[in-house]
Amino acid sequence: MKARSTNYIIFEFLSRSANEGFARGAVACFAAQLDPTLEELGDIKTAVSEAVTNAIVHAYPDTLGRIFIKARVLEDNILEIVVQDWGKGIPDVEQARQPLYTTGGEERSGMGFTIMESFMDRLYVRSVPGKGTKVTMRRRIKPRRTGL
């Protein structure tokens, strides 16, 4: 995915659930420069929260590991977010993307990928068992005419 970017942030954190709020908040702050509506911002925060939670719950179920996030502004007001881990990987990505499919038990709903897909314009998932998972999401923020 070659695309020219005009701005980006990179950050990395330990797969502790306490960091979920920080991760979605940081991406939302970065996204603010695209002047999103509250609804667009909510969608972005939700999608990031789902991707990060997946990494915490599924990539590193019995251990703590690194989670890396890169957010970029691309041409045409597009926000791209990459959430990457070096954990267990997903044996069958197609299956994992099915609504309600979960290996997380009663505490999870199995809707993470479905929400990422519905709330973002594009979702790419690359996963290698034993190596990790990289989730790339894109959302175009509709340009708004602001205060003249």
Partner: protein
């Protein structure tokens, strides 16, 4: 994430405020379980009005509370759903299983 409640004549209202994510969900589920066991409500209102954020962890919380209420032969109604949380619940098609007001 904070939970407050009031119980009257076995009608229970649980109010959630703050951010409901995976980090908050585990403790919240345990708290709701305990509360339902203590108060044995015939009807529970889960008030999401003060939630500033909710992801799919909230779906699991709602479904679990619904199952617990069914086990008590009662029912669960989710009320005052903010727009962002509503989008999450709608995407999951939760309206087919739970009363959303």
């Amino acid at each position: 994430m904070e939970m407050t409640y009031r119980s009257e004549d076995r009608y229970l209202t649980i109010q959630l405020s703050g951010e409901l994510d995976h980090h908050a969900a585990k403790n919240l589920m345990d708290s709701i379980d305990r509360l339902l066991e203590q108060t044995l409500p015939v009807k529970t209102f889960l008030d999401l009005g003060e939630l500033s954020f909710m992801d799919s962890s909230g779906i699991a919380v709602v479904l679990r509370a619904k199952r617990r209420m069914e086990a008590l032969s009662g029912n669960l109604v989710v009320i005052n759903i903010p727009r962002q949380a509503a989008r999450v619940l709608e995407t999951a098609g939760l309206g087919r299983y739970v009363d959303l007001l």
